[in-house]
Symmetry: C2
Subunit: 177 residues, 2 copies
């Protein structure tokens, strides 16, 4: 079965970005020389599922950073919204989460990287996430876009690995039970 | 100078209690045999500062758990609200945070344990906290009372220690920069 996986960084107070999507608080961290495992994580997935908000935001951040296929879940974007140089790399879908997971599984996907705050929350609520890598950044920013949102019931987690770095980042790996 | 110190547990999504103050999600954790350093922390402080909400809540949790002096910051409680058996252990104050810290310093206090969600947030905003021990519990509860709140400016932290336990708890020590 195709499983969903999360790899996110949050401020200690739980934000993935400021309200204006800025990541300045994250970018200023002194992490030179540290390997937080992102490349290994990307190697482990067949592709990335994101929402239109994240997609539009990634477009503003410079050159397209992903080598793996990206699926953008959107009811508003149309093919003309995809820059020409990304044709073949980025696909739009209007499928539901469950339909999309089944469809990608039929294509041979085993593991999907689910990215973006809102999408992460709804995939968690739908039980489509198997595990999460959460990196806690040593800063309080006070306000912004949260990683986690409401849940219908408590979600118990199993800590499978915890690692701290000299930069002060703490990376925890959780399996969703 | 008297310094403020925080020792708190939060769900992975950042809550210290449910909205009804319940800690059932915390109490169910299987932590037998683990030492999370609370006794050492309590030994290191001269006493505890809490708000009236936390005070009332502690009263409902069974026998009074603290040996050290407790100062309750409240503009509404009066001496008659303090149970007889706690006279001499619990004091009320209407002083401001800064006035209280100066007053306790004159009494010889060096380190104060600042407890309770709202009080923690305002002491952090006032720059009265030197360090925080935050224990992350492997569960998402989705809603409740948050540890952290708005801040006037970003607050940078220095991770001084990180430790994980077989229960899945991760305890991080941060100095406020």
């Amino acid at each position: 079965m195709l499983t969903g996986h999360i790899y996110m960084a949050t401020s200690l107070d739980g934000f993935v970005a400021r309200n204006n999507h800025s990541l300045d608080w994250l970018m200023k961290q002194k992490i030179e020389g540290e390997d937080h495992g992102f490349d290994d994580f990307m190697d482990s997935v067949n592709g990335i599922i994101m929402g239109s908000g994240s997609f539009k935001n990634v477009l503003t951040l410079g050159p397209w950073p992903y080598k793996k296929p990206v699926i953008v879940m959107s009811r508003s974007l149309v093919d003309e919204d995809i820059p020409t140089e990304l044709k073949g790399k980025v696909r739009l879908t209007q499928l539901s989460q469950q339909e999309l997971m089944l469809s990608l599984e039929k294509e041979g996907w085993k593991r999907a990287y689910v990215d973006g705050g809102k999408l992460v929350q709804s995939f968690i609520r739908s039980g489509l996430i198997q595990d999460m890598t959460i990196t806690s950044i040593p800063i309080l920013i006070g306000d912004g876009l949260r990683l986690f949102g409401p849940v219908d019931n408590d979600i118990d987690l199993e800590l499978t690995k915890s690692e701290s770095f000299s930069s002060g980042l703490v990376q925890n790996h959780y399996k969703i039970l």
